[in-house]
């Protein structure tokens, strides 16, 4: 037959083309990403919000915060210095900082220039409203032996403005400057902790960098332990490294376990080395999936790979469908078996693709990727199973082991005996009762944290760092917009006032806003006007001998100081900590971020934003969790929709009644799985729901297989059993994943498969069943 020659050749051409595409995609390095945020919906279409989010995320993804602790400060400092040198030399970091060798002269210049612009709101207010008290306090500070070093000599700043600015600069509560070394040191747990900060060259989501950083940190830990010291580290990089290691491990064992299991099963059942060729469609499927994924999305996420590796179990079903016909088709010939089964195979490809592609319509990029990967993978597997594999198996005569068939026959017999005692209707009633009771106990839970299996040690260390340094960043922040810098600073200032109240109430640990650093231009002008009035109050300064000419000159100088804008102030050394907050100018005006520390009550923060113009609370985590819950509903709708589509598709070959039966069984299986989750006390998550969505599609296959019954009930049941086992081998292993989301998915699919298999025999129409049972007896 010409198709037997033509098809393999056509397929080989396609395969070569896809291989070429893969080679081109991978030539510049693996297009694989581990960035969690690319997996969740980019719910914000506002580019400014996105920019602000990136800005606030960046330190998490590029910075490493390490505390080096030792009972002796000198030891802790020496170790920090050694580690800092080693890290700098590693080439992984753009900057490693353990000691602030501040350039005081640059700081002095900025302080002098910013005497009007940088004065804090409270000090400004006192100067404006109580000039007498302002001067008196200045005098006190001149005598105060504890007022601290003033960076600017008194004769350059008789009014003491630079000292006030210096003292109003915020700093992490628990960290102090060690003047000898310039290091930042905190005391806690009976130890001296030196703060070491490093900023990596690349992004945390380069595949290599997080692992290298984690390795370097492990080596440093060992070194610290030898010196009797301890390290605490906090960084998004470490979570990324952990996630990658875990993903690699899980791919190895989900993929490896499923592969080994399936190969073993093929050998045991078919007793021919050539049966292992059934794995060819799996490899082709993976290739097609990966190429399609990179082509569509530019990159492939590691989570897609983990979940995608479960495709092995589904892809191997296509060859299994016709290989299993060797129990009834004697002699078994590859092409004739394919001809017999390909209509069923095509139907099952169509239903599986519908199931997977339904995932693509959820708002989750992660699932869209998995859907694309799987659908393309299935097409590849189907094509190779139908076009290539029969040619490879051309001369093989399969003589499968007899025991699987005997087992299947025993199972069918068991079912028949059961049905004689308890009719189907009663069984259905019992099943529904079981489901109702299970559903009653089901509770749902949705949290973005299920996507990351963070090990407790990383979390504990991050908490320790937050506790010791007093630095507790939160993911929520305010985005504030204004038409120009003046309006922006006024809005920031207004919101800061409200936040101060929250801080005083203990509802918030702290915040950073550019309005704490500098005053708006009108406020600067107001200050310059007020300074002129100070002459009436400065007698106490004259009394201690300050020359009047010096004071006059100073006031004139202050009045001539240029008005400073945000960009100018941020460029100086005092601006360093504030730079990430400034988003600059765009078409609609200017914008800045207020970052928050040690958050208590998100709802309260949302309320604050409501009555302030131009203020928006960005709470990505909260938005995501709300979205998760909302998506659960739409996922259920998608599931029903995909069932309707499959129903339409099946009406053609099976008629309405048959199609209804074929679709009802998977739905019943899904219902039973839900109930089981309830009985097991497992929560219903978005992921278990997605798992069930998928199972519906796969389980339609089994129903079709049982309905068509090519080769008899027992042979079909055996085919279903083999298919379910392979699928379960790959998805079931996902249930062991340490990422809650993945394991949830695996558990739901596993349960779904068990019920699909158990219910599949009911797919046969009652008439067929009666004749089949007599046929079975006759052959026995």
């Amino acid at each position: 037959m010409p198709s037997e020659r033509l098809l393999p050749r056509l397929f080989l051409i396609l395969l070569l083309a896809v291989l070429g595409a893969a080679a081109w995609q991978w030539h510049a390095g693996a297009p694989v990403s581990a960035d969690l945020m690319t997996l969740v919906p980019g719910d914000s279409h506002d580019p400014l919000v996105q920019r602000a989010e990136q800005r606030m995320q960046e330190p998490l993804n590029r910075e490493l915060l390490v505390l080096v602790g030792h009972a002796e400060r000198s030891q802790a400092l020496a170790l920090s210095e050694r580690l800092a040198k080693r890290w700098q030399a590693s080439g992984l970091f753009e900057k490693v900082q353990w000691s602030l060798q501040t350039d005081l002269s640059a700081l002095r210049t900025q302080l002098l220039q910013g005497r009007v612009a940088l004065l804090s709101a409270a000090d400004r207010q006192q100067l404006l409203e109580q000039p007498q008290a302002f001067i008196e306090q200045r005098l006190e500070r001149l005598y105060d032996p504890f007022a601290g070093f003033s960076l600017v000599p008194n004769q350059d700043d008789w009014l003491g403005l630079t000292g006030l600015i210096q003292n109003s600069q915020p700093r992490p509560a628990n960290v102090q400057l060690d003047t000898a070394s310039g290091a930042l040191v905190a005391e806690a747990e009976g130890k001296q902790w030196v703060l070491l900060r490093a900023r990596t060259q690349g992004n945390a989501f380069d595949m290599q960098l997080p692992l290298q950083v984690a390795d370097l940190l492990d080596a440093s830990r060992a070194e610290a332990a030898q010196a009797g010291a301890q390290l605490y580290a906090a960084s998004g990089l470490l979570h990324a490294a952990h996630g990658q290691r875990q993903a690699t491990q899980e791919i190895t064992w989900v993929g490896g376990g499923a592969t080994l299991g399936i190969l073993l099963m093929l050998l045991l059942a078919f007793r021919r080395w050539q049966a292992l060729l059934a794995f060819v469609p799996v490899l082709v499927g993976m290739l097609f999936g990966a190429v399609a994924c990179v082509a569509l999305f530019g990159k492939m996420h590691v989570m897609t790979l983990v979940l995608g590796s479960s495709l092995i179990g589904v892809a191997v079903d296509y060859p299994l469908h016709y290989l299993s016909k060797s129990w009834s088709l004697r002699p078994w010939r590859s092409w004739s078996a394919v001809r017999l089964t390909w209509p069923g195979l095509s139907l099952s490809l169509a239903t599986s693709c519908i199931g997977y592609l339904a995932l693509a319509f959820t708002p989750f990029p992660a699932l869209t990727q998995i859907a694309a990967f799987s659908a393309a993978g299935l097409v590849g597997a189907y094509l190779s199973a139908v076009c290539l594999l029969p040619a490879l198996l051309g001369r093989v005569e399969l003589q499968p082991a007899a025991w699987p068939l005997r087992l299947a026959e025993r199972l069918t017999g068991l079912r028949e005996r059961l049905l004689r005692v308890v009719p189907s209707a009663v069984l259905l009633g019992l099943l529904l009762a079981f489901s109702a009771a299970g559903l009653w106990q089901l509770h749902s839970r949705n949290d973005i944290r299920q996507w990351v299996g963070s090990p407790p040690q990383l979390l504990e260390e991050a908490q320790a760092v937050a506790r010791i340094t007093g630095y507790q960043p939160t993911s929520q922040f305010y985005l504030v917009r204004g038409d120009d810098q003046t309006q922006l600073l006024e809005r920031l200032q207004a919101l800061s006032g409200k936040l101060d109240e929250l801080v005083a109430l203990g509802k918030l640990k702290g915040y950073m806003s550019i309005s704490q650093l500098l005053a708006s231009e009108p406020a600067q002008q107001q200050m310059q006007a007020a300074v002129a009035q100070l002459a009436q109050h400065w007698q106490p300064l004259l009394d201690i001998g300050v020359p009047p000419a010096a004071l006059d000159a100073e006031v004139q100088q202050l009045q001539k100081l240029p008005l400073l804008d945000i960009d100018h102030v941020l460029a100086g050394p005092l601006g360093e900590a504030w730079r990430p907050l400034w988003l600059g100018q765009d078409g609609n005006g200017v914008a800045a971020v207020i970052s928050l520390q040690g958050l208590g009550d998100v709802a309260l923060l949302g309320l604050l934003a409501e009555d302030q113009p131009g203020v928006q609370l960005v709470d990505r985590l909260g938005d995501l969790n709300r979205l998760f819950a909302a998506t659960q509903l739409s996922a259920a709708e998608l599931k029903l929709l995909s069932c309707a589509l499959i129903l339409l598709l099946l009406i053609v070959p099976f008629g309405f009644g048959g199609a209804l039966r074929l679709v009802a069984l998977p739905l019943l299986a899904a219902l039973c799985s839900l109930a089981c989750l309830g009985w097991l006390g497992q929560p219903l998550t978005l992921f278990s729901l997605f798992g069930l969505l998928l199972v519906t599609a796969i389980s339609v296959d089994y129903a079709i297989l049982m309905r068509e019954r090519i080769g008899g009930a027992a042979v079909s049941l055996l085919g279903t059993l083999l298919a379910a086992l392979t699928t379960w081998l790959s998805f079931g292993l996902l249930a062991l994943s340490s990422t809650p989301a993945v394991s949830n998915f695996g558990l739901a699919v596993s349960l779904g498969l068990v019920f699909s298999f158990l219910l599949a025999p009911w797919a046969a129409s009652p008439n067929d069943e009666a004749s089949a049972s007599s046929e079975g007896k006759a052959s026995a």
């Binding site: 501040t102 005098l139 008194n154």
Partner: protein, 200 residues
Amino acid sequence: MSRLLRSLAAVALLLASPWALAFDLADLQRQLSAPAVVKGPFIQEKHLRALPQPLLSKGRFVLARDHGLLWLLQTPLRQDYRIDAEGIARRDASGWQRLPGRSAGAEQNRLFFAVLQGDSSGLQRDFELRLSGDAERWQLHLTPRSLLLKQVFSAIDIDGGAYVQRIELHETQGDSTVLRLPESHGEAVLSDAERSDFAQ
């Protein structure tokens, strides 16, 4: 803070041993930290380059080894300060008010303590120390080690006998502060009023 106090006490103790052959930093520390309480008047002169006259202030201090330091400024204005392990506090009409951690201030207070108590280990971290003289008449010369401190101080000179008598801070900018503690004396216990000041 308390370590600084202990070391000051130690320096005081050291002074009490006239038989020591060579007078070293450990001896000084022991000598200064011997008495539980040291008190006396102080006179502070702040020499600012731009002022013809120094800024003169006077008052009393109480240094309690186990509690901290009371610094009671009396002229030209009255202002009480207290430094202890938890930081610095200032007295106003409604009682002691803790001052929020001030950036450079916190470090300076530590230094101030170390100087008064002759805490050589605390001081050695930040300064090169050079001690001369004997237990009855000694001079301690401090030069800052770090780049950061060098930008603030050029040197600190401390001299004394049984107690610290004179501290002179030379600022890099050219200003200097002279602190004289002319009539310090040791006591075994705090007065009730002083105890209650430390207690709040």
